[in-house]
Protein backbone atom coordinates (compact mmCIF):
# COMPACT_ATOMS: atom_id res chain seq x y z
CA UNK A 1 0.00 0.00 0.00
CA UNK A 2 1.99 2.94 -1.34
CA UNK A 3 -0.41 5.59 -0.05
CA UNK A 4 -0.24 4.31 3.52
CA UNK A 5 3.55 4.45 3.46
CA UNK A 6 3.54 8.08 2.37
CA UNK A 7 0.91 8.84 4.99
CA UNK A 8 2.96 7.36 7.82
CA UNK A 9 6.09 9.14 6.54
CA UNK A 10 4.17 12.43 6.58
CA UNK A 11 2.87 11.66 10.06
CA UNK A 12 6.33 11.02 11.50
CA UNK A 13 7.84 14.11 9.83
CA UNK A 14 5.00 16.34 11.03
CA UNK A 15 5.06 14.84 14.52
CA UNK A 16 8.80 15.48 14.79
CA UNK A 17 8.31 19.08 13.63
CA UNK A 18 5.41 19.64 16.04
CA UNK A 19 7.21 18.24 19.07
CA UNK A 20 10.51 19.95 18.23
CA UNK A 21 8.94 23.37 17.74
CA UNK A 22 6.81 22.94 20.88
CA UNK A 23 9.97 22.19 22.85
CA UNK A 24 11.59 25.32 21.42
CA UNK A 25 8.50 27.36 22.38
CA UNK A 26 8.96 26.29 25.97
CA UNK A 27 12.77 26.33 26.15
CA UNK A 28 13.83 29.49 24.29
CA UNK A 29 14.68 32.51 26.42
CA UNK A 30 13.50 35.18 23.99
CA UNK A 31 9.71 35.30 23.87
CA UNK A 32 9.55 36.63 20.30
CA UNK A 33 11.48 33.57 19.14
CA UNK A 34 9.06 31.42 21.14
CA UNK A 35 6.10 32.89 19.25
CA UNK A 36 7.91 32.33 15.94
CA UNK A 37 8.29 28.62 16.76
CA UNK A 38 4.68 28.58 17.92
CA UNK A 39 3.70 29.61 14.37
CA UNK A 40 5.83 26.75 12.97
CA UNK A 41 4.07 24.36 15.36
CA UNK A 42 0.62 25.56 14.28
CA UNK A 43 1.40 25.25 10.55
CA UNK A 44 2.68 21.70 10.98
CA UNK A 45 -0.45 20.91 13.02
CA UNK A 46 -2.44 22.03 9.98
CA UNK A 47 -0.46 19.50 7.95
CA UNK A 48 -1.29 16.83 10.53
CA UNK A 49 -5.00 17.67 10.18
CA UNK A 50 -4.61 17.08 6.42
CA UNK A 51 -3.35 13.55 7.15
CA UNK A 52 -6.54 13.09 9.21
CA UNK A 53 -8.76 14.08 6.22
CA UNK A 54 -9.83 17.34 7.90
CA UNK A 55 -9.09 19.87 5.16
CA UNK A 56 -11.46 22.56 6.44
CA UNK A 57 -9.90 22.39 9.90
CA UNK A 58 -6.43 22.63 8.38
CA UNK A 59 -7.47 25.86 6.63
CA UNK A 60 -9.00 27.18 9.87
CA UNK A 61 -5.83 26.26 11.75
CA UNK A 62 -3.64 28.27 9.37
CA UNK A 63 -6.06 31.21 9.34
CA UNK A 64 -6.87 31.52 13.03
CA UNK A 65 -3.89 30.05 14.88
CA UNK A 66 -0.91 30.69 12.60
CA UNK A 67 -2.39 33.95 11.39
CA UNK A 68 -4.54 35.70 13.95
CA UNK A 69 -3.41 34.27 17.29
CA UNK A 70 0.34 34.53 16.61
CA UNK A 71 0.04 38.10 15.29
CA UNK A 72 -2.09 39.08 18.27
CA UNK A 73 0.41 37.60 20.75
CA UNK A 74 3.26 39.45 19.00
CA UNK A 75 1.28 42.69 19.26
CA UNK A 76 0.69 42.00 22.95
CA UNK A 77 4.41 41.43 23.51
CA UNK A 78 5.26 44.67 21.70
CA UNK A 79 2.84 46.54 23.97
CA UNK A 80 4.24 45.19 27.22
CA UNK A 81 7.96 44.46 26.81
CA UNK A 82 10.03 47.63 26.96
CA UNK A 83 13.55 46.45 27.88
CA UNK A 84 15.69 44.10 25.79
CA UNK A 85 14.13 40.84 24.71
CA UNK A 86 17.02 38.51 25.58
CA UNK A 87 15.81 37.30 28.98
CA UNK A 88 12.07 37.66 28.60
CA UNK A 89 10.99 34.02 28.80
CA UNK A 90 12.61 32.47 31.86
CA UNK A 91 11.67 29.56 34.11
CA UNK A 92 10.41 30.09 37.64
CA UNK A 93 11.44 28.24 40.78
CA UNK A 94 8.99 25.36 40.43
CA UNK A 95 10.57 23.78 37.36
CA UNK A 96 11.38 20.49 39.09
CA UNK A 97 7.91 20.13 40.62
CA UNK A 98 6.40 20.96 37.22
CA UNK A 99 8.56 18.27 35.58
CA UNK A 100 7.33 15.75 38.16
CA UNK A 101 3.67 16.60 37.57
CA UNK A 102 4.14 16.46 33.81
CA UNK A 103 5.90 13.09 34.01
CA UNK A 104 2.98 11.76 36.05
CA UNK A 105 0.39 13.08 33.56
CA UNK A 106 2.38 11.69 30.65
CA UNK A 107 2.73 8.28 32.30
CA UNK A 108 -1.02 8.04 33.01
CA UNK A 109 -2.11 9.21 29.54
CA UNK A 110 0.50 7.04 27.81
CA UNK A 111 -0.54 3.98 29.79
CA UNK A 112 -4.25 4.57 29.17
CA UNK A 113 -3.81 5.19 25.45
CA UNK A 114 -1.67 2.06 25.10
CA UNK A 115 -4.17 -0.11 27.04
CA UNK A 116 -7.46 1.17 25.62
CA UNK A 117 -9.05 -0.91 22.87
CA UNK A 118 -10.17 1.64 20.32
CA UNK A 119 -13.21 0.68 18.28
CA UNK A 120 -11.91 1.13 14.76
CA UNK A 121 -14.41 2.03 12.06
CA UNK A 122 -13.30 0.87 8.63
CA UNK A 123 -15.29 3.36 6.57
CA UNK A 124 -13.29 6.25 5.09
CA UNK A 125 -14.06 9.88 5.83
CA UNK A 126 -16.44 11.35 3.23
CA UNK A 127 -14.89 13.73 0.72
CA UNK A 128 -17.40 16.52 1.44
CA UNK A 129 -16.17 17.80 4.81
CA UNK A 130 -17.24 21.45 4.63
CA UNK A 131 -20.78 20.60 3.53
CA UNK A 132 -21.26 18.02 6.25
CA UNK A 133 -19.89 20.37 8.91
CA UNK A 134 -22.16 23.19 7.72
CA UNK A 135 -25.19 20.93 7.76
CA UNK A 136 -24.47 19.80 11.33
CA UNK A 137 -23.75 23.35 12.43
CA UNK A 138 -27.00 24.77 11.10
CA UNK A 139 -29.34 21.93 12.06
CA UNK A 140 -28.48 19.79 15.07
CA UNK A 141 -25.86 22.04 16.66
CA UNK A 142 -27.35 25.43 15.82
CA UNK A 143 -27.62 26.51 19.47
CA UNK A 144 -23.90 25.93 20.27
CA UNK A 145 -23.14 27.72 17.00
CA UNK A 146 -25.13 30.79 18.08
CA UNK A 147 -23.67 30.63 21.58
CA UNK A 148 -20.17 30.60 20.07
CA UNK A 149 -21.09 33.71 18.08
CA UNK A 150 -22.29 35.45 21.26
CA UNK A 151 -19.13 34.30 23.05
CA UNK A 152 -16.96 35.87 20.35
CA UNK A 153 -18.91 39.13 20.56
CA UNK A 154 -18.64 39.23 24.36
CA UNK A 155 -14.91 38.43 24.20
CA UNK A 156 -14.40 41.22 21.64
CA UNK A 157 -16.20 43.83 23.74
CA UNK A 158 -14.61 42.56 26.95
CA UNK A 159 -11.09 42.65 25.51
CA UNK A 160 -11.59 46.23 24.34
CA UNK A 161 -12.96 47.36 27.71
CA UNK A 162 -10.27 45.57 29.75
CA UNK A 163 -7.39 46.76 27.58
CA UNK A 164 -8.72 50.33 27.46
CA UNK A 165 -7.87 52.26 30.57
CA UNK A 166 -11.02 52.94 32.58
CA UNK A 167 -10.82 56.36 34.18
CA UNK A 168 -12.44 55.96 37.60
Amino acid sequence: MDNGLWLSLAFYLLAATILGSAFLVVLLRNIVHSVLWLAVCFVSLAGLYLTLDADFLAAIQVLIYAGAVCIMVVFGIMLIQRADMKQTNLFNKQTKAAAGVVALVLAVTGYLSAVTQWGNAKTPVPKETVGSLAELMLTKYVIPFEVAAILLLVALVGAIIIAKEVKG
Partner: protein, 106 residues
Protein backbone atom coordinates in the same frame (compact mmCIF):
# COMPACT_ATOMS: atom_id res chain seq x y z
CA UNK B 1 5.27 -2.64 6.97
CA UNK B 2 3.14 -3.16 10.06
CA UNK B 3 5.05 -1.05 12.60
CA UNK B 4 5.07 1.84 10.14
CA UNK B 5 1.29 1.92 9.78
CA UNK B 6 -0.12 4.93 11.59
CA UNK B 7 -3.21 4.32 13.68
CA UNK B 8 -5.28 6.10 16.28
CA UNK B 9 -2.80 5.27 19.06
CA UNK B 10 -0.04 7.21 17.31
CA UNK B 11 -2.17 10.34 17.19
CA UNK B 12 -3.26 9.96 20.82
CA UNK B 13 0.34 9.54 21.98
CA UNK B 14 1.44 12.57 19.93
CA UNK B 15 -1.38 14.56 21.48
CA UNK B 16 -0.36 13.43 24.98
CA UNK B 17 3.23 14.51 24.34
CA UNK B 18 2.17 17.93 23.02
CA UNK B 19 -0.19 18.36 25.99
CA UNK B 20 2.65 17.46 28.38
CA UNK B 21 4.98 20.03 26.80
CA UNK B 22 2.27 22.68 27.08
CA UNK B 23 1.51 21.73 30.69
CA UNK B 24 5.19 21.96 31.59
CA UNK B 25 5.32 25.44 30.10
CA UNK B 26 2.18 26.55 31.94
CA UNK B 27 3.55 25.36 35.27
CA UNK B 28 7.12 26.55 34.91
CA UNK B 29 7.18 29.80 32.94
CA UNK B 30 7.56 33.21 34.51
CA UNK B 31 6.17 35.40 31.73
CA UNK B 32 2.36 35.63 31.58
CA UNK B 33 2.36 35.72 27.77
CA UNK B 34 4.44 32.53 27.70
CA UNK B 35 1.84 30.83 29.90
CA UNK B 36 -0.86 31.97 27.48
CA UNK B 37 0.88 30.48 24.43
CA UNK B 38 1.54 27.24 26.32
CA UNK B 39 -2.22 27.02 26.99
CA UNK B 40 -2.65 27.34 23.21
CA UNK B 41 -0.34 24.34 22.76
CA UNK B 42 -2.50 22.32 25.17
CA UNK B 43 -5.71 23.27 23.34
CA UNK B 44 -4.12 22.19 20.05
CA UNK B 45 -3.24 18.84 21.59
CA UNK B 46 -6.92 18.42 22.46
CA UNK B 47 -7.84 19.24 18.86
CA UNK B 48 -5.53 16.50 17.53
CA UNK B 49 -7.38 14.03 19.75
CA UNK B 50 -10.82 15.18 18.64
CA UNK B 51 -10.00 15.06 14.93
CA UNK B 52 -8.26 11.68 15.22
CA UNK B 53 -11.29 10.22 17.05
CA UNK B 54 -13.50 11.73 14.37
CA UNK B 55 -11.53 9.98 11.62
CA UNK B 56 -10.94 6.61 13.23
CA UNK B 57 -14.08 6.01 15.31
CA UNK B 58 -16.97 8.02 13.81
CA UNK B 59 -15.82 8.97 10.31
CA UNK B 60 -19.24 9.83 8.90
CA UNK B 61 -20.66 11.81 11.83
CA UNK B 62 -18.14 14.73 11.85
CA UNK B 63 -18.88 15.48 15.50
CA UNK B 64 -15.19 15.49 16.46
CA UNK B 65 -14.36 17.98 13.74
CA UNK B 66 -17.30 20.17 14.75
CA UNK B 67 -16.16 20.11 18.36
CA UNK B 68 -12.65 21.09 17.23
CA UNK B 69 -14.17 24.13 15.49
CA UNK B 70 -15.79 25.16 18.78
CA UNK B 71 -12.53 24.60 20.66
CA UNK B 72 -10.73 26.88 18.18
CA UNK B 73 -13.43 29.54 18.65
CA UNK B 74 -13.12 29.45 22.43
CA UNK B 75 -9.30 29.49 22.20
CA UNK B 76 -9.38 32.61 20.03
CA UNK B 77 -11.69 34.36 22.50
CA UNK B 78 -9.46 33.25 25.37
CA UNK B 79 -6.32 34.67 23.76
CA UNK B 80 -8.01 38.01 23.16
CA UNK B 81 -9.31 38.41 26.70
CA UNK B 82 -6.11 36.97 28.23
CA UNK B 83 -3.88 39.42 26.39
CA UNK B 84 -6.17 42.31 27.37
CA UNK B 85 -5.93 41.27 31.03
CA UNK B 86 -2.12 41.00 30.79
CA UNK B 87 -1.92 44.48 29.21
CA UNK B 88 -4.16 45.92 31.94
CA UNK B 89 -2.04 44.32 34.70
CA UNK B 90 1.15 45.56 33.04
CA UNK B 91 -0.25 49.09 33.06
CA UNK B 92 -0.77 48.91 36.83
CA UNK B 93 2.29 46.94 37.91
CA UNK B 94 4.84 47.49 35.07
CA UNK B 95 5.54 43.76 35.11
CA UNK B 96 4.41 40.55 33.43
CA UNK B 97 6.26 38.29 35.84
CA UNK B 98 3.69 35.97 37.37
CA UNK B 99 5.68 35.73 40.63
CA UNK B 100 4.92 39.43 41.22
CA UNK B 101 1.16 38.92 41.06
CA UNK B 102 0.31 37.98 44.64
CA UNK B 103 -2.43 40.43 45.59
CA UNK B 104 -4.71 37.65 46.79
CA UNK B 105 -2.06 36.18 49.11
CA UNK B 106 -2.04 37.06 52.82
Amino acid sequence: MLPLTVGLTHYVVLSALLFAIGLFGVLSKRNAVAVLICIELMLNAVNINLIAFSKYITPTLFIGQLFAVFVITVAAAEVGVGLAIIIAIYRNRLSVNLDDFDWLKW
